[in-house]
Amino acid sequence: MEPTESQSQMSLPANCDAVVVGGGHAGIEAAWALGRRGHKVVLVTFDARALGRMSCNPSVGGLAKGQLAREVDALGGLMGRLIDRAGIHFRMLNRRKGPAVHGPRAQADKPAYCREAWRFLATLPSLRVVEAEVTEIETESSRAGARRVTGVRLAPPRWSRVEPGSAHSSGARRPDAPPPPGVVRLAGAAEIAAPRVILTIGTFLEATLFSGLDPRHGGRRGEPPAGALGECLRGLGLPLARLKTGTPPRLQRASIDFASLEEQPGDEPPPRFSFFEESPVRNRVLCYLTRTNARTHEAIRAGLDRSPLFGGLIHGVGPRYCPSIEDKVVRFPDRTSHQIFLEPEGLESEEIYPNGISTSLPVDVQLAYVRTIPGLECAQIVHPGYAVEYDFLQTSGLDPSLSVRGVTGLYAAGQINGTSGYEEAAAQGVIAGLNACAELEGRAPLVLRRDQAYIGVLIDDLITKVPTEPYRMFTSQSEYRLLLRQDNADQRLSRIGWKRGLLAEEDYRWVEERWGRIAAARRRLGARTVTRAALHAATSRSESEEAQTAVVSERDWGKTYEELLRKPEVTVEALPRLGCQLELPQGEWKSLEADVKYEGYIPRLLRDIAARRALEETVIPFRVAEDPPQSLSREARERLRLHRPRTLGQAGRIPGVTPCDISLLAVRIRALRKDVVKP
């Protein structure tokens, strides 16, 4: 581990405003936010070439996840811009359903994604990237038992821990290549003084990899786990628990017979993620579909005796929404087939990601079952699939700002908080980054509400319910789903991003213009009525086009075009045919349609939000949270002491706290207020 001449010239800063531990999707967003605000920030990672690495599937977005990615973008985060540049296959999922549940999803060229992440971060003059392992978070006691972050202790990453030649280290190599320019590669132990530390260490904490009955240490394939940090966190009194996730074997592209498989092309035009990018996005690859069959399931059953999952080796709880293939075969024995999507890992990559068969079975079993699958009869496994079991921070100790309670200056974001997925991680990264900025700048923390953003739902869910499985965003987790569309994330959040100094002024102006145009187009729709001639033209033509017959009829004469568009079966694309030109860029049509279709629900949602606002805004005083009234049930009191909800609204979402407990709490808080007023 000899540093070269040029690397040793880069010096490690002795102090900075904030240290970001980890360079995954949460880490790069946090560092971006701090750097954009001009704060001196150090990002510590094992491998500077792995910034923004996609360690599992090669895609960004999806149902609900697409909304999250768009929200990150609307706030001024990186994710949308990176995937637009690195994307090679774009789709809008759920297109046939209502606009609230549309979700953009894109396949990425994995190396390009990392390169783009590096390109953006390299523009920040106040950011320094350091290749090292954080072994300790240094703290000092502040008042009454609370601790305060003072800095981090660093050591060179322990690449030697990954045994050469083992299955998991097949892709493992010490990064012998010199680090990118400007990166410090640490040679010996060191310290950095910093008042803020953001933990974004993913699955690396006390991580164990499983392929068969032979567990190894490792954070992900080819990379060592973060060892000493776990002890340090325990020492700080932070409660940890265990989760598990998994990844499928990667297949060699040349060994797959694609000709026999169903193609899945991207959408045209490809839907982009960023609200602000002008660069073209292009579909450059195809994905393919195949399925498991009875023989696959047989091969899997035959290997179950060597499964770490069923052999009791894995204790962490895996995600029910993303079970391993062996889990699916055992839990749903009636199903004879499961879908598999073959996704390229990149334009140049020789690896194919078979989405749908994540596994921790031994390598020989993986090969056996893979080869029963159509198209994969001769498949070669480049890297075997594995499960990773890791520690996460129990989120009952988190504040809505993502700061860790009891340790001033410490933040946590991403998988360390028990979530799963790049988008969930990025969303937390932005918030943790912005809140570290807020603390440095003496501003109020940014806490998004549940009715404002999926990010708000995500963080509120995390702090009121400790994940019992890796947390994934679903649209059904939002009670205000109709308000939180992927296409209006900018309308909801860009003002905040601009005010917080993350989103550029010109980007925010663009959002205002865009929604100004949509509102104007909508006013025109409301002012124009459907003429008999237009109706006649539309209905007479529809004699040949049966599909249109149901859409409009004589009864629609005299209605405004807005009323017409409100009908479930009328789409915005049909309006020009019905005699109404929209005078709006086509990319904005769907936003107009969604606004009109959901209009009737908005007042009811707003009423509901207003009704809840009293609860959401009633702050629970410290002494009440510390010692809840005795009239509450014992479970409620324990939960309140554990979670320390900030408001009555949050308290009400904690499992085990009943509506009745909330009324009793409200009574107590009112009584306290009166006491204050009296003297």
């Binding site: 599937n57 895609s59 999806g62 149902l63 609900a64 996840k65 789709r91 999922l93 759920n94 046939r96 359903k97 209502g98 609230a100 549940v101 999803r105 499928p248 579909l289 029910r320 929404y321 993303c322 079970p323 699916k328 839990r331 749903f332 009636d334 199903r335 499961h338 879908q339 999507f341 996704e343 989405n355 749908g356 994540s358 679903f474 649209t475 059904s476 987790q477 009670e479 789903r481 109709l482 479930p568 079966e569 279709k597 629900y601 005795q630 009239s631 509450l632 049930s633 014992r634 499992p655 009943t658 509506p659 009745c660 407990d661």
Partner: protein, 485 residues
């Protein structure tokens, strides 16, 4: 439970042979051991067995009592609970309470024992409300209904409804969080779409639960009528003979009767007992054609009385009114047929052939529809009965018709599982949300809109049981769908 201890009088104050005082909380037993000297027994006291003894304060005897000890959690409140049967009256129970309060039990707030039972999971919210309804019941019918709800009757119905709606919600949510053409990273259904598609299944669930909840509400209306007092209002045209019938019904000359139209200007209320139900008879002024302040006020008072009516007796003077005019008047009343009885007044004086034919047809229809009663379904036309006054003041047929209606109402009220207005309000909200959801489903609107409505219905029902149902939906999704990449 580490809560404080409460004590209060469980029986009414005043002169009585006995009074019951309840103590609940961790100090219940220490207090009992300190102040209760059982005849021939020493602590620890046996559970659930009556002990005769003396209540003492130091050396002073307060009363001779019977004490019962219910150890938690097998007690009403779920905590250690002691019941003391003391002598009644103004003095003794007060002295006992003073002693208990001085020994560390604080006075209980109204309803606090039941609140503790709820908090400790001994009762759900519907049961807690049933306790209130039971002790304030004004009729045997009401008390019986409350008792059934206390036994968990309403909870069972609501829980069944919630289960079914959670299933519908899960199907809707899954359809939104699942990509139909099988995109990766999404859910895929495990049920066989060929066997049953989602839409019809959701539609059936919604319709069934809406009907079930609606039935609950029917009884609620009957209950509300009986609890507020059943108001029978005599209405009809001026000089139809409303006041004569009213008097005949009461059996005395309560209202002034004269042949002049418009004798009655205001309405008259008279209470009447029928079995154990509270009934109020109201005589109203007929519609006044004359202009002027009195006439206007009189009309307004009549409208008010009609608005409060549980049953309207539409009095029609068959000698002075045509069947068509009656039809108009009934249309103007705009009430369900089950809440109207037509009294064909002065039948003995002037029922022409038209009226004879009209009544014969009515009776024929009624016979064809089968016997009246709760099982007979809703009547389509108001019951019509002839009555006479002048020749022989015979209101027996009218009385029989009213009693028949009362019996239907009574049995509905008895069958109801709704014992509080809050319950009726939430269930109404749920029914309305379900109706909207069904409408959207029929229109082919998006599942996200239908799910919005069903979620509203679930929230309303969840509030009734004091239970949040959001997470149950997600559990359902995971148990029913093979979800996965």
């Amino acid at each position: 439970m580490t809560t404080d201890t409460i004590a209060a009088l469980a029986t009414a104050r005043g002169i009585a042979a006995l009074a019951v005082i309840r103590i609940s909380g961790p100090a219940a037993i220490p207090i009992l051991e300190r102040h209760f000297r059982a005849a021939g027994r020493r602590p620890p006291f046996p559970a659930r067995s009556a002990m005769l003894g003396e209540l003492v304060c130091g050396e002073e005897r307060i009363d001779q009592v019977v004490a019962l000890f219910f150890p938690g959690p097998h007690s009403y409140t779920g905590e250690d609970l002691v019941e003391l049967m003391t002598h009644g009256g103004e003095i003794v129970p007060e002295r006992v309470l003073e002693l208990l309060h001085a020994s560390g039990a604080r006075p209980a707030r109204a309803g606090e024992f039941t609140q503790r039972a709820y908090l400790n999971g001994k009762l759900d919210l519907t049961q807690a409300e049933a306790v209130e309804s039971l002790i304030t019941a004004r009729s045997a019918i009401e008390a019986q209904a409350a008792l059934r709800v206390l036994g968990g009757g309403l909870r069972e119905v609501l829980a069944a409804s919630i289960d079914a709606l959670v299933e519908a919600q899960a199907l809707l949510e899954a359809s939104l969080d699942i990509q139909e053409d099988g995109a990766p990273d999404t859910l895929s259904p495990i049920w066989d779409p060929a066997r049953e598609s989602m839409g019809p299944r959701v539609g059936r669930l919604l319709a069934r639960e809406r009907a079930r909840l609606r039935r609950l509400l029917e009884g609620a209306r009957a209950r509300r009528m009986l609890r507020a007092g059943y108001r029978i209002v005599f209405a009809g045209r001026s000089n139809a003979g409303k006041s004569s019938l009213f008097n005949a019904f009461l059996g005395r000359e309560r209202a002034i009767v004269s042949p002049e139209p418009g004798t009655t200007r205001d309405f008259l209320d008279e209470p009447l007992d029928w079995e154990d139900l509270r009934i109020v008879l109201t005589d109203t002024a007929g519609a006044q054609r004359a202009k002027g302040a009195i006439a206007e006020a009189s009309n307004r008072r009549t409208r008010e009385a009609l608005a409060a009516a549980s049953l309207v007796v539409e009095v029609v003077d068959v000698a002075a009114t045509s069947t068509e005019e009656l039809a108009e008047d009934l249309a103007a009343l705009n009430r369900p047929a089950g809440e109207v009885i037509v009294a064909l007044h002065k039948w003995d004086l002037g029922a022409g052939r038209a009226w004879q034919a009209w009544l014969a047809e009515r009776e024929g229809q009624a016979r064809a529809a089968g016997p009246a009663g709760p099982a007979a379904g809703k009547p389509r036309a108001p019951t019509a009965v002839p009555s006479s006054v002048k020749a022989s003041p015979d209101v027996a047929p009218l009385r029989a018709a009213i009693e028949a209606r009362m019996r239907v109402l009574g049995s509905e009220a008895q069958a109801t599982l709704i014992v509080a207005e809050r319950q009726a309000e939430r269930i109404t909200r749920a029914v309305e949300a379900l109706e909207r959801a069904e409408g959207l489903l029929r229109e082919g609107a998006g599942a996200e809109l239908i799910a919005f409505e069903t979620r509203g219905a679930l929230d309303a029902l969840g509030e009734l049981l004091g239970r949040r149902v959001g997470h149950e939906v997600l559990e359902q999704i995971f148990s029913r769908f093979c979800v996965g990449k």
